[in-house]
Point group: C2
Chain length 193, copies 2
DNA sequence: ATTTTCTTAGAACTAAATGGTCGATTGTTC
DNA sequence: GAACAATCGACCATTTAGTTCTAAGAAAAT
Protein backbone atom coordinates (compact mmCIF):
# COMPACT_ATOMS: atom_id res chain seq x y z
CA UNK A 1 0.00 0.00 0.00
CA UNK A 2 0.91 3.63 -0.11
CA UNK A 3 1.48 4.12 3.55
CA UNK A 4 2.09 1.72 6.37
CA UNK A 5 0.71 4.13 8.93
CA UNK A 6 -2.49 4.49 6.95
CA UNK A 7 -3.02 0.76 7.12
CA UNK A 8 -2.40 0.72 10.84
CA UNK A 9 -5.28 3.14 11.20
CA UNK A 10 -7.44 0.92 9.08
CA UNK A 11 -6.68 -1.98 11.38
CA UNK A 12 -7.41 0.10 14.46
CA UNK A 13 -10.74 1.21 13.09
CA UNK A 14 -11.75 -2.30 12.22
CA UNK A 15 -10.43 -3.89 15.39
CA UNK A 16 -12.13 -1.22 17.46
CA UNK A 17 -15.54 -2.50 16.43
CA UNK A 18 -14.67 -6.06 17.35
CA UNK A 19 -13.08 -5.15 20.66
CA UNK A 20 -16.03 -3.03 21.66
CA UNK A 21 -18.35 -5.89 20.89
CA UNK A 22 -16.51 -8.79 22.45
CA UNK A 23 -13.90 -7.26 24.73
CA UNK A 24 -10.21 -7.80 24.73
CA UNK A 25 -10.06 -11.42 25.69
CA UNK A 26 -12.83 -12.75 23.50
CA UNK A 27 -11.55 -10.96 20.43
CA UNK A 28 -9.15 -13.09 18.44
CA UNK A 29 -6.41 -12.09 16.06
CA UNK A 30 -8.06 -14.26 13.47
CA UNK A 31 -11.26 -12.25 13.69
CA UNK A 32 -9.38 -9.01 13.37
CA UNK A 33 -7.53 -10.40 10.38
CA UNK A 34 -10.62 -11.85 8.73
CA UNK A 35 -12.47 -8.58 9.06
CA UNK A 36 -9.73 -7.09 6.90
CA UNK A 37 -9.56 -10.04 4.53
CA UNK A 38 -6.05 -10.74 5.62
CA UNK A 39 -4.20 -13.71 7.00
CA UNK A 40 -3.78 -13.83 10.72
CA UNK A 41 -0.02 -13.54 10.57
CA UNK A 42 -0.14 -10.57 8.24
CA UNK A 43 -1.37 -8.36 11.03
CA UNK A 44 1.96 -8.79 12.76
CA UNK A 45 3.58 -6.87 9.97
CA UNK A 46 1.81 -3.79 11.30
CA UNK A 47 1.50 -4.49 15.01
CA UNK A 48 3.80 -6.28 17.36
CA UNK A 49 1.05 -7.92 19.38
CA UNK A 50 -2.62 -8.03 20.20
CA UNK A 51 -2.01 -5.78 23.16
CA UNK A 52 -0.41 -3.20 20.90
CA UNK A 53 -3.50 -3.14 18.72
CA UNK A 54 -5.66 -2.78 21.77
CA UNK A 55 -3.53 0.05 23.04
CA UNK A 56 -3.86 1.82 19.71
CA UNK A 57 -7.61 1.30 19.80
CA UNK A 58 -7.89 2.80 23.27
CA UNK A 59 -5.70 5.69 22.21
CA UNK A 60 -7.96 6.27 19.26
CA UNK A 61 -11.05 6.09 21.43
CA UNK A 62 -9.56 8.59 23.85
CA UNK A 63 -8.90 10.91 20.94
CA UNK A 64 -12.49 10.64 19.79
CA UNK A 65 -13.68 11.36 23.30
CA UNK A 66 -11.38 14.34 23.59
CA UNK A 67 -12.78 15.76 20.36
CA UNK A 68 -16.34 15.24 21.52
CA UNK A 69 -15.61 16.87 24.82
CA UNK A 70 -13.98 19.84 23.16
CA UNK A 71 -17.13 20.27 21.14
CA UNK A 72 -19.23 20.13 24.29
CA UNK A 73 -17.11 22.74 25.99
CA UNK A 74 -17.64 25.11 23.13
CA UNK A 75 -21.34 24.26 22.88
CA UNK A 76 -22.57 26.69 25.51
CA UNK A 77 -21.59 29.38 27.95
CA UNK A 78 -23.51 27.95 30.86
CA UNK A 79 -20.98 25.91 32.84
CA UNK A 80 -23.61 23.88 34.61
CA UNK A 81 -25.13 22.82 31.32
CA UNK A 82 -21.70 22.00 30.02
CA UNK A 83 -20.96 19.88 33.04
CA UNK A 84 -24.20 18.00 32.53
CA UNK A 85 -23.46 17.37 28.88
CA UNK A 86 -19.97 16.39 29.78
CA UNK A 87 -21.12 13.73 32.21
CA UNK A 88 -23.65 12.37 29.73
CA UNK A 89 -21.07 11.99 27.01
CA UNK A 90 -18.63 10.47 29.41
CA UNK A 91 -21.16 7.88 30.46
CA UNK A 92 -22.02 7.12 26.87
CA UNK A 93 -18.39 6.38 26.19
CA UNK A 94 -18.01 4.20 29.22
CA UNK A 95 -21.03 2.23 28.20
CA UNK A 96 -19.22 1.59 24.96
CA UNK A 97 -16.00 0.82 26.73
CA UNK A 98 -17.59 -1.40 29.33
CA UNK A 99 -16.84 -4.38 27.16
CA UNK A 100 -13.18 -3.59 26.97
CA UNK A 101 -12.95 -3.35 30.72
CA UNK A 102 -15.31 -6.15 31.54
CA UNK A 103 -13.03 -8.50 29.75
CA UNK A 104 -10.07 -7.28 31.74
CA UNK A 105 -11.45 -6.62 35.18
CA UNK A 106 -12.64 -10.19 34.96
CA UNK A 107 -9.80 -11.22 37.29
CA UNK A 108 -6.28 -11.82 36.03
CA UNK A 109 -5.22 -8.23 35.82
CA UNK A 110 -1.89 -9.99 36.15
CA UNK A 111 0.41 -8.26 33.75
CA UNK A 112 -2.19 -5.79 32.59
CA UNK A 113 -0.50 -2.83 34.14
CA UNK A 114 -0.38 -1.44 30.65
CA UNK A 115 -4.08 -0.81 31.06
CA UNK A 116 -3.38 1.07 34.24
CA UNK A 117 -0.85 3.23 32.48
CA UNK A 118 -3.39 3.94 29.77
CA UNK A 119 -5.93 4.77 32.41
CA UNK A 120 -3.61 7.17 34.18
CA UNK A 121 -2.92 9.05 31.00
CA UNK A 122 -6.65 9.38 30.43
CA UNK A 123 -7.32 10.41 34.01
CA UNK A 124 -4.85 13.27 33.78
CA UNK A 125 -6.42 14.55 30.62
CA UNK A 126 -9.86 14.33 32.13
CA UNK A 127 -8.93 16.14 35.29
CA UNK A 128 -7.43 18.92 33.23
CA UNK A 129 -10.60 19.16 31.18
CA UNK A 130 -12.89 19.22 34.19
CA UNK A 131 -10.69 21.76 35.83
CA UNK A 132 -10.99 23.97 32.80
CA UNK A 133 -14.78 23.70 32.84
CA UNK A 134 -14.87 24.48 36.55
CA UNK A 135 -12.47 27.35 36.14
CA UNK A 136 -14.69 28.90 33.48
CA UNK A 137 -17.65 28.42 35.77
CA UNK A 138 -15.89 30.22 38.59
CA UNK A 139 -14.78 33.01 36.33
CA UNK A 140 -18.31 33.60 35.10
CA UNK A 141 -19.62 33.47 38.64
CA UNK A 142 -21.68 30.33 38.21
CA UNK A 143 -19.56 28.19 40.47
CA UNK A 144 -18.24 28.88 43.88
CA UNK A 145 -14.93 27.14 44.41
CA UNK A 146 -11.69 27.89 46.22
CA UNK A 147 -9.40 25.46 44.45
CA UNK A 148 -10.48 24.28 41.02
CA UNK A 149 -7.64 21.75 40.88
CA UNK A 150 -8.80 19.97 43.98
CA UNK A 151 -12.44 20.29 42.97
CA UNK A 152 -11.69 18.78 39.58
CA UNK A 153 -10.01 15.88 41.30
CA UNK A 154 -13.05 15.40 43.51
CA UNK A 155 -15.50 15.55 40.63
CA UNK A 156 -13.46 13.13 38.60
CA UNK A 157 -13.27 10.73 41.50
CA UNK A 158 -17.02 10.88 41.90
CA UNK A 159 -17.52 10.24 38.20
CA UNK A 160 -15.30 7.20 38.41
CA UNK A 161 -17.56 5.93 41.16
CA UNK A 162 -20.45 6.18 38.74
CA UNK A 163 -18.77 3.88 36.28
CA UNK A 164 -19.32 0.67 38.16
CA UNK A 165 -23.11 0.67 37.98
CA UNK A 166 -22.71 1.08 34.24
CA UNK A 167 -20.43 -1.91 34.08
CA UNK A 168 -22.44 -4.35 36.07
CA UNK A 169 -26.01 -3.55 35.18
CA UNK A 170 -26.35 -3.34 31.48
CA UNK A 171 -28.46 -0.50 30.18
CA UNK A 172 -30.79 0.16 33.03
CA UNK A 173 -33.48 2.02 31.27
CA UNK A 174 -34.05 4.80 33.74
CA UNK A 175 -30.35 5.51 33.48
CA UNK A 176 -30.67 8.87 31.84
CA UNK A 177 -33.07 10.23 34.39
CA UNK A 178 -31.15 8.67 37.21
CA UNK A 179 -27.99 10.23 35.91
CA UNK A 180 -29.63 13.62 36.06
CA UNK A 181 -30.67 12.99 39.62
CA UNK A 182 -27.18 11.95 40.61
CA UNK A 183 -25.66 14.98 38.97
CA UNK A 184 -28.11 17.16 40.82
CA UNK A 185 -27.05 15.69 44.10
CA UNK A 186 -23.41 15.60 43.21
CA UNK A 187 -23.07 19.23 42.24
CA UNK A 188 -25.61 20.78 44.50
CA UNK A 189 -22.99 22.50 46.55
CA UNK A 190 -21.14 23.84 43.58
CA UNK A 191 -23.73 26.06 42.02
CA UNK A 192 -23.80 29.51 43.52
CA UNK A 193 -27.02 30.53 45.21
CA UNK B 1 -33.26 -27.22 45.93
CA UNK B 2 -36.91 -27.98 45.74
CA UNK B 3 -37.02 -28.94 42.14
CA UNK B 4 -34.35 -29.94 39.68
CA UNK B 5 -36.40 -28.80 36.73
CA UNK B 6 -36.84 -25.36 38.27
CA UNK B 7 -33.10 -24.98 38.50
CA UNK B 8 -32.65 -26.04 34.92
CA UNK B 9 -34.89 -23.15 33.95
CA UNK B 10 -32.83 -20.82 36.05
CA UNK B 11 -29.73 -21.94 34.22
CA UNK B 12 -31.42 -21.53 30.86
CA UNK B 13 -32.53 -18.02 31.70
CA UNK B 14 -29.08 -17.01 32.83
CA UNK B 15 -27.23 -18.75 30.03
CA UNK B 16 -29.59 -17.24 27.50
CA UNK B 17 -28.28 -13.78 28.27
CA UNK B 18 -24.69 -14.84 27.86
CA UNK B 19 -25.29 -16.79 24.67
CA UNK B 20 -27.21 -13.94 23.10
CA UNK B 21 -24.35 -11.60 23.90
CA UNK B 22 -21.37 -13.69 22.91
CA UNK B 23 -22.72 -16.51 20.80
CA UNK B 24 -22.33 -20.20 21.29
CA UNK B 25 -18.63 -20.52 20.77
CA UNK B 26 -17.47 -17.56 22.76
CA UNK B 27 -19.60 -18.47 25.75
CA UNK B 28 -17.79 -20.72 28.20
CA UNK B 29 -19.16 -23.11 30.76
CA UNK B 30 -17.24 -21.25 33.40
CA UNK B 31 -19.05 -18.02 32.60
CA UNK B 32 -22.39 -19.74 32.74
CA UNK B 33 -21.46 -21.24 36.09
CA UNK B 34 -20.04 -18.04 37.52
CA UNK B 35 -23.15 -16.11 36.58
CA UNK B 36 -25.01 -18.51 38.86
CA UNK B 37 -22.36 -18.47 41.56
CA UNK B 38 -21.72 -22.11 41.01
CA UNK B 39 -18.74 -24.23 40.22
CA UNK B 40 -18.29 -25.22 36.62
CA UNK B 41 -18.77 -28.89 37.30
CA UNK B 42 -22.03 -28.30 39.13
CA UNK B 43 -23.70 -27.33 35.90
CA UNK B 44 -23.11 -30.82 34.61
CA UNK B 45 -25.40 -32.07 37.30
CA UNK B 46 -28.24 -30.41 35.43
CA UNK B 47 -27.13 -30.55 31.83
CA UNK B 48 -25.13 -33.14 30.00
CA UNK B 49 -23.20 -30.69 27.86
CA UNK B 50 -22.87 -27.15 26.64
CA UNK B 51 -24.82 -28.07 23.55
CA UNK B 52 -27.68 -29.32 25.67
CA UNK B 53 -27.89 -26.00 27.48
CA UNK B 54 -27.84 -24.20 24.18
CA UNK B 55 -30.59 -26.40 22.86
CA UNK B 56 -32.69 -25.61 25.92
CA UNK B 57 -32.01 -21.92 25.44
CA UNK B 58 -33.12 -22.02 21.84
CA UNK B 59 -36.21 -23.98 22.83
CA UNK B 60 -37.00 -21.36 25.40
CA UNK B 61 -36.47 -18.55 22.93
CA UNK B 62 -38.78 -20.26 20.47
CA UNK B 63 -41.41 -20.49 23.18
CA UNK B 64 -41.10 -16.78 23.93
CA UNK B 65 -41.43 -16.00 20.26
CA UNK B 66 -44.46 -18.21 19.96
CA UNK B 67 -46.12 -16.39 22.82
CA UNK B 68 -45.33 -13.01 21.33
CA UNK B 69 -46.67 -14.09 17.98
CA UNK B 70 -49.87 -15.39 19.53
CA UNK B 71 -50.35 -12.01 21.10
CA UNK B 72 -49.81 -10.32 17.75
CA UNK B 73 -52.36 -12.55 16.08
CA UNK B 74 -54.97 -11.55 18.59
CA UNK B 75 -53.98 -7.92 18.47
CA UNK B 76 -56.09 -6.95 15.48
CA UNK B 77 -58.59 -8.14 12.94
CA UNK B 78 -56.82 -6.69 9.95
CA UNK B 79 -54.75 -9.54 8.51
CA UNK B 80 -52.45 -7.25 6.61
CA UNK B 81 -51.63 -5.34 9.77
CA UNK B 82 -51.08 -8.59 11.60
CA UNK B 83 -48.75 -9.81 8.92
CA UNK B 84 -46.76 -6.60 9.15
CA UNK B 85 -46.47 -6.84 12.91
CA UNK B 86 -45.59 -10.48 12.57
CA UNK B 87 -42.68 -9.75 10.29
CA UNK B 88 -41.44 -6.96 12.53
CA UNK B 89 -41.41 -9.15 15.61
CA UNK B 90 -39.78 -11.94 13.74
CA UNK B 91 -37.00 -9.67 12.60
CA UNK B 92 -36.53 -8.33 16.12
CA UNK B 93 -36.03 -11.86 17.33
CA UNK B 94 -33.57 -12.71 14.63
CA UNK B 95 -31.58 -9.66 15.42
CA UNK B 96 -31.35 -11.02 18.92
CA UNK B 97 -30.54 -14.48 17.68
CA UNK B 98 -28.00 -13.33 15.15
CA UNK B 99 -25.27 -13.83 17.72
CA UNK B 100 -26.24 -17.41 18.28
CA UNK B 101 -26.12 -18.13 14.61
CA UNK B 102 -23.16 -16.00 13.76
CA UNK B 103 -21.10 -18.08 16.08
CA UNK B 104 -22.24 -21.22 14.36
CA UNK B 105 -22.45 -20.32 10.71
CA UNK B 106 -18.88 -19.18 11.18
CA UNK B 107 -17.71 -22.33 9.39
CA UNK B 108 -17.43 -25.68 11.12
CA UNK B 109 -21.06 -26.59 11.03
CA UNK B 110 -19.43 -29.98 11.34
CA UNK B 111 -21.54 -31.90 13.78
CA UNK B 112 -24.00 -29.09 14.31
CA UNK B 113 -26.86 -30.87 12.65
CA UNK B 114 -28.60 -30.50 15.98
CA UNK B 115 -29.07 -26.88 15.07
CA UNK B 116 -30.64 -27.96 11.83
CA UNK B 117 -33.06 -30.16 13.68
CA UNK B 118 -33.96 -27.26 15.93
CA UNK B 119 -34.43 -25.09 12.93
CA UNK B 120 -36.76 -27.56 11.28
CA UNK B 121 -38.95 -27.75 14.34
CA UNK B 122 -39.16 -23.97 14.37
CA UNK B 123 -39.87 -23.77 10.65
CA UNK B 124 -42.83 -26.08 10.95
CA UNK B 125 -44.33 -24.04 13.75
CA UNK B 126 -43.81 -20.86 11.83
CA UNK B 127 -45.39 -22.17 8.67
CA UNK B 128 -48.40 -23.27 10.64
CA UNK B 129 -48.69 -19.84 12.19
CA UNK B 130 -48.36 -17.99 8.93
CA UNK B 131 -50.84 -20.31 7.36
CA UNK B 132 -53.31 -19.50 10.09
CA UNK B 133 -52.85 -15.78 9.58
CA UNK B 134 -53.30 -16.17 5.83
CA UNK B 135 -56.31 -18.37 6.30
CA UNK B 136 -57.96 -15.77 8.48
CA UNK B 137 -57.17 -13.17 5.85
CA UNK B 138 -58.81 -15.24 3.16
CA UNK B 139 -61.83 -15.92 5.29
CA UNK B 140 -62.36 -12.22 5.95
CA UNK B 141 -61.88 -11.44 2.30
CA UNK B 142 -58.66 -9.45 2.71
CA UNK B 143 -56.46 -11.96 1.00
CA UNK B 144 -56.90 -13.73 -2.26
CA UNK B 145 -55.30 -17.12 -2.18
CA UNK B 146 -56.01 -20.57 -3.58
CA UNK B 147 -53.85 -22.65 -1.28
CA UNK B 148 -52.91 -21.15 2.06
CA UNK B 149 -50.53 -24.01 2.83
CA UNK B 150 -48.45 -23.36 -0.24
CA UNK B 151 -48.68 -19.61 0.23
CA UNK B 152 -47.51 -19.93 3.82
CA UNK B 153 -44.55 -21.93 2.62
CA UNK B 154 -43.76 -19.26 0.07
CA UNK B 155 -44.02 -16.42 2.56
CA UNK B 156 -41.89 -18.25 5.07
CA UNK B 157 -39.26 -18.91 2.46
CA UNK B 158 -39.21 -15.25 1.55
CA UNK B 159 -38.83 -14.28 5.20
CA UNK B 160 -35.91 -16.60 5.56
CA UNK B 161 -34.30 -14.79 2.69
CA UNK B 162 -34.62 -11.58 4.68
CA UNK B 163 -32.63 -12.97 7.57
CA UNK B 164 -29.23 -12.80 5.98
CA UNK B 165 -29.08 -9.03 5.63
CA UNK B 166 -29.84 -8.87 9.34
CA UNK B 167 -26.98 -11.19 10.12
CA UNK B 168 -24.29 -9.57 8.14
CA UNK B 169 -25.04 -5.87 8.42
CA UNK B 170 -25.56 -5.00 12.02
CA UNK B 171 -28.41 -2.63 12.74
CA UNK B 172 -28.71 -0.75 9.53
CA UNK B 173 -30.63 2.21 10.70
CA UNK B 174 -33.08 2.49 7.86
CA UNK B 175 -33.99 -1.11 8.56
CA UNK B 176 -37.48 -0.47 9.81
CA UNK B 177 -38.47 1.59 6.84
CA UNK B 178 -36.73 -0.76 4.48
CA UNK B 179 -38.56 -3.64 6.03
CA UNK B 180 -41.86 -1.91 5.32
CA UNK B 181 -40.85 -1.41 1.74
CA UNK B 182 -39.91 -5.03 1.35
CA UNK B 183 -43.15 -6.18 2.87
CA UNK B 184 -45.02 -3.94 0.48
CA UNK B 185 -43.31 -5.50 -2.46
CA UNK B 186 -43.50 -8.99 -1.06
CA UNK B 187 -47.23 -9.06 -0.38
CA UNK B 188 -48.45 -6.83 -3.12
CA UNK B 189 -50.10 -9.65 -4.95
CA UNK B 190 -51.79 -10.99 -1.89
CA UNK B 191 -54.02 -8.13 -0.93
CA UNK B 192 -57.33 -8.15 -2.76
CA UNK B 193 -58.03 -5.13 -4.90
C1' DA C 1 16.43 -8.11 -16.57
C1' DT C 2 17.80 -8.51 -12.06
C1' DT C 3 18.26 -7.20 -7.59
C1' DT C 4 16.07 -5.41 -3.55
C1' DT C 5 12.45 -4.12 -0.70
C1' DC C 6 7.67 -4.52 0.72
C1' DT C 7 3.77 -7.32 1.86
C1' DT C 8 1.36 -11.53 2.62
C1' DA C 9 0.13 -15.95 4.45
C1' DG C 10 0.66 -20.94 5.50
C1' DA C 11 2.92 -23.97 8.67
C1' DA C 12 4.67 -24.76 13.04
C1' DC C 13 5.32 -23.92 17.95
C1' DT C 14 3.80 -23.15 22.58
C1' DA C 15 1.19 -21.84 26.39
C1' DA C 16 -3.27 -21.24 27.86
C1' DA C 17 -8.08 -22.12 27.75
C1' DT C 18 -11.87 -25.03 27.80
C1' DG C 19 -15.33 -28.85 27.73
C1' DG C 20 -15.92 -32.58 30.27
C1' DT C 21 -15.05 -36.48 34.03
C1' DC C 22 -14.58 -38.31 38.65
C1' DG C 23 -14.20 -38.92 43.31
C1' DA C 24 -14.59 -36.62 47.54
C1' DT C 25 -17.43 -33.84 50.46
C1' DT C 26 -21.16 -31.70 52.58
C1' DG C 27 -25.89 -31.50 53.71
C1' DT C 28 -30.49 -33.56 54.11
C1' DT C 29 -34.06 -37.11 54.84
C1' DC C 30 -35.67 -41.25 56.65
C1' DG D 1 -25.95 -44.07 59.85
C1' DA D 2 -27.45 -45.36 55.15
C1' DA D 3 -29.11 -43.32 51.01
C1' DC D 4 -29.67 -39.66 48.21
C1' DA D 5 -29.08 -34.69 46.50
C1' DA D 6 -26.06 -31.15 45.30
C1' DT D 7 -21.59 -29.01 44.93
C1' DC D 8 -16.89 -28.56 43.96
C1' DG D 9 -11.75 -29.01 43.24
C1' DA D 10 -8.45 -31.54 40.80
C1' DC D 11 -7.50 -33.44 36.74
C1' DC D 12 -7.36 -34.87 31.62
C1' DA D 13 -7.50 -34.51 26.62
C1' DT D 14 -8.18 -31.67 23.14
C1' DT D 15 -8.58 -27.42 21.03
C1' DT D 16 -7.60 -22.76 20.56
C1' DA D 17 -5.13 -18.64 19.91
C1' DG D 18 -1.00 -15.58 20.11
C1' DT D 19 3.24 -15.44 18.05
C1' DT D 20 7.30 -16.67 15.12
C1' DC D 21 9.47 -18.15 10.94
C1' DT D 22 10.15 -18.74 6.37
C1' DA D 23 9.13 -18.76 1.73
C1' DA D 24 7.20 -16.57 -1.91
C1' DG D 25 4.52 -13.21 -4.83
C1' DA D 26 4.34 -8.04 -5.98
C1' DA D 27 6.26 -3.89 -6.66
C1' DA D 28 10.02 -0.66 -6.95
C1' DA D 29 14.55 0.43 -7.88
C1' DT D 30 18.72 -0.16 -10.32
Amino acid sequence: MVDKEKYREKIVLSASKIFSRYGFKKTTMEEIANALNKGKSSIYYYFKSKEEIFEAVVDHEAQVLKDELSKVIKSSDDPELILRRYVKIRMKLFEKLSNYYNAIFNRDLDHFDFIEKQREKYDLMEIALIRYVLWRGVRSGHFNLENTGLAALAVQTALKGLELPLFWEKRSYGMDARLDAIIDILFYGIVRK
